[in-house]
Symmetry: D2
Subunit: 344 residues, 4 copies
């Protein structure tokens, strides 16, 4: 059994890790930390877990107990992994970081977007961006994995086939993304109250969202040149789900886009290219580690519309984290992740 530690398990990505790992035949959570909930049984905080983790209590983070794990997930606000990663890596364990701490290659850019100095620039070299559909080989030998953000996962998977094939004008990409409220986390904020966010739709952070540089970095790598991206996130009145509606201009109208996408993801266990003409729904991936994609070219023009949906807490966070764990530890990649989505 793989020994798992989780740092900061009181948020939504934390409880989702626990839910997924409860179904994982080869992993067992040994340690879960929370300074504020030290001593609380996890099942007291998350009653859906009653009967699954009756042995497990939150504890104060401790390098010794965490270091005894085979892998340590960070489900923390940004900055925490910066502070603890070097010491933990020195114990020989692996780190899979769900926060933004190691997603950007450039420490200065990180600092600009997060408004504080990068806390561990010396680790950036060994950090591997944990998008298996792009970086599977690097993940196999990684000690420090930066799990992609939710918007970046949906957006990159949708744009990749076009950019890798050099088929899109990479200077004018648009990502109009809609996220459920769980993307805002479990912190008590007025904007995330049911009475503020239900029965309403709004864009936010149009001037610049922290996921913008992460997406741009990934698309730039795929395109082999800098990209121009406009990213507009929207808060959607639902709990889970991201729907990315992506716009790109194709340079060659004769290309069979359906075939291009199908081929790109033919071997991917967690990317589902739907039949031509499909409209994926976020509920079709609720609770599941899947990205479903459909590609359209309306009215036969040169504007391509890609629809890409994920569950932000699964393929956009904890599920993808477990997927990278499976890869890094040499397990079957789909282990513990093959259950269908919950619908309705």
């Amino acid at each position: 059994m793989i020994k798992v530690g989780i740092v900061g398990g009181t948020g939504y990505t934390g409880v989702e890790l626990l839910r997924l790992l409860a179904q994982h035949p080869q992993a067992r959570v040994e340690v879960i930390t929370s300074r504020s909930e030290d001593g609380t049984c996890v099942a007291d905080m998350y009653p859906n877990l009653r009967g699954h983790y009756d042995y497990l209590h939150f504890s104060v983070p401790d390098t010794r107990t965490l270091g005894a794990c085979d892998v340590v997930f960070f489900a923390t606000p940004h900055g925490v992994a910066h502070a603890m990663a070097a010491e933990l890596l020195a114990t020989g364990t692996r780190i899979i970081d769900l926060s933004a701490d190691f997603r950007l290659r450039d420490a200065d850019e990180w600092s600009r977007w997060y408004g504080q100095p990068h806390g561990a620039p010396e680790l950036l070299e060994q950090a591997v961006y944990g998008l298996p559909e792009v970086n599977r080989e690097a993940i196999r030998s990684a000690r420090l994995i930066a799990v992609p953000g939710c918007y970046p996962t949906a957006t990159q998977l949708g744009f990749l086939p076009l950019l890798e094939a050099g088929l899109a004008d990479s200077s004018r990409l648009i990502a109009d993304c809609k996220s459920g409220v769980s993307g805002a986390g479990r912190g008590a904020s007025v904007g995330s109250l049911l009475c503020e966010s239900a029965e309403s739709m709004k864009a936010y952070a149009v001037a610049g969202h922290r996921h913008l540089p992460e997406i741009s970095q990934g698309l730039t790598l795929a395109a082999g040149q800098p990209v121009g991206l406009t990213f507009v996130p929207h808060l959607t009145p639902m709990i889970r789900g991201i729907h990315a509606t992506l716009y790109a201009t194709v340079t060659d109208r004769s290309v069979d886009l359906q075939a291009l996408f199908a081929k790109r993801y033919a071997a991917e266990p967690f990317v589902d290219v739907m039949p031509a003409g499909s409209h994926p729904e976020t509920r079709s991936v609720r609770g599941a580690n899947v990205c479903r994609i459909a590609v359209h070219r309306p009215q036969g023009g040169d504007l391509v519309v890609v629809l890409s949906v994920i569950d932000n807490l699964v393929k956009g966070a904890s599920g993808q984290a477990v997927q990278t764990m499976n890869i890094a530890l040499g397990l079957e990649e789909t282990m513990g992740l093959s259950h269908p989505a919950l619908m309705p």
Copy 2:
């Protein structure tokens, strides 16, 4: 008192007309028709109206009683107004049609999108497109008003300042629109069930939605030349509201867009240009006859992002219809329409 008739009042635009007219000091609904509900008291069907219309029963459509009204609203599926309009107009009453029957100037195009012959092409010449922010003068003397669709209202109001000023590349416009489920009407369809549409997001009709030609027609008039528009509607898990996220490339980055929009709508009672940096929420217009707009130019690039929100049943349908009635009958334009939105 203005005598009002309503044809087809059992759907959502019908009940919304009744709600709005109950607050209108100068209008009284005299006739409301429904073949299927003949004899039913409207308050039995819509208990929110108990105490407001206890005198009013659905009746079978009849030209004589409808013709005795000063104005007749059609809140019907497409095709009905085609069949009844000529005879009704001959009685001397006015028609305000909330359906799509007279929105398109070109009968052939209508026929292509609706899959049936246009039923009253001879009336198209006198039909006035009822968007007051564009057509106020024509509405004043109109006998037959075609109330714009919900997506077209939100989208046109958002794009108009740019196109009228010749500031946008009109060949590459994108409208990424999100609608509440009431846009699909009150018909019993599986896709509109709570269990199918709650807690999920999806695009639909990407290949071509019937509102596309209507929007294109209006934008073409505003731009003075044919436009290229990609329109992607999304079904959003809420009852009311449309959020249009509009993308256009400006040809001159030095223009003060905030001032442009503020000036364009300075005299408009129902268009609210929000302060720079705003993100309008659909709930801020719930139940109110208002379009709120914010304009952004992210990262100082040449791509403009306009956010435009309406309540699809009010400014996107019944409220706009009452607004045109006020104009056409020489009443104060805001009469009965000045209540604030319901929030939370």
Copy 3:
């Protein structure tokens, strides 16, 4: 014009007062206070009010400016009205308190349930419980009105006809009540997040909720003897609305309950006794100052089931407050409160 002051206008009952008073032909809000939002324009905080209160800014509470108003509403947490009421009343203004401060006649009981000493027991004598259907005459001359809570309004209106007529076993009353999340207020708490309260149902405070003594007090007065009440509130995944399902054993099965309820409320403008067999929906009163009631006696037994619905923010708070203002100031009772509910 009646000059209105509002103390503590940043919560949901505050914004609802503003929404309702914007439609009131005889009232104008002159002062609205908030320590934390001093200087903020109310329309900046509540964009639904843009265009309605552009003159109005939050200010620090001040007895002089508030005292210059004809009436001052308190939309504050408990304890605030205790601290300010005496001084304000001395200026000659009226107070309409939406908080719990003056609802209980017994200061000691208040103290037990709220865990702090009663701050103004000397004012209890003049405080009038603001349920017009019971206390209309006393409200006419009141200087200090305690607006009932939301659960107490729905529950008392449902039980009153039975208890006043001496028809129910008052020792075994059950109120199973379901409330929308807005009842929990606008404070940032984890339990009210969309992700915690949407798509779920739960009871809370079964051991004892603060509205229990208020309801018991009212029912005791109606019955003329102490009552035994079990009150179980539930958090329901919606924004607005209370559905009270009330159970009582009738002592005489031959009574015509429908007639009893109809007669009791025949003259009440804001209580709607629905036809026999009805099932009122909370949405039928959304945004409206109405309580709709239906009475059932299933299978012809002796257990009566009363269904009573209100909008917790309107008839359960701000609407009822305006209703008492109308009464106290000699205006028509329904003034500004006669718009229909928003449906759908």
Copy 4:
């Protein structure tokens, strides 16, 4: 591998069976029938199942292919199992019927509530009511299992400890139950539209719901005498979940109810008696085959309040059906049913 057939798999209990069986290590769905969807791939209808059942198409019901299965589930409207059961049982297969056809022991009572003659009274003798917590032994050898309804499961599990111990006044039981909209099925009906059922709460069928005789039958068996039950179901604005709030008068206040419930369900894998003072949420069982129960005695009176929550589609239907399959086929009872609930 156990060969599974499903009759009528297009509704919510059908797709839920498919979801659960996809995770079952010993079962494989071989046949799924639907007259209207003959030939359709199940994954085309339910995109959450893409990749799980790519081999499986709906087919017209056929006794030969169904009879070749080890077990056949009926996820059909009432009446269908009546018509097909005898012939199918003759092939030697087992039937697990999720409809109401064989739940009532008395064919005449069935006929009264369902408004049509009972179609297979001769099979009632061998039909076993599939509530494992009551009937586990009988289920082991059953050929025809009637899976309990959703309300009956939540209500019976909540009342059983009291009634079996003879501790409650069985003549005055009240079940105030709240159900998500999926309980109304996937049929296109106006009342189940998002715009009709979201953001609202209502009771329905207060005069008498078809689950009433089923619950009464079960409680009568538990109590050893006829019971008096008032059952009030409510439509709740959520997809999944039942919250039963149960009221009973205890005849002995000295009993330790917490211990009573804990002991009754100590050995039950799918009933979770929560700690004293708990308030179970329906989301804590979303997607899971669990009933969570808490028991309260407010203010130390003699009225007991039991809170019982299930997912109506899992422990209230398809999960319980799989549980009975496991029992009947000699598998481990929890097989394929041990995943945690999806939260948030």
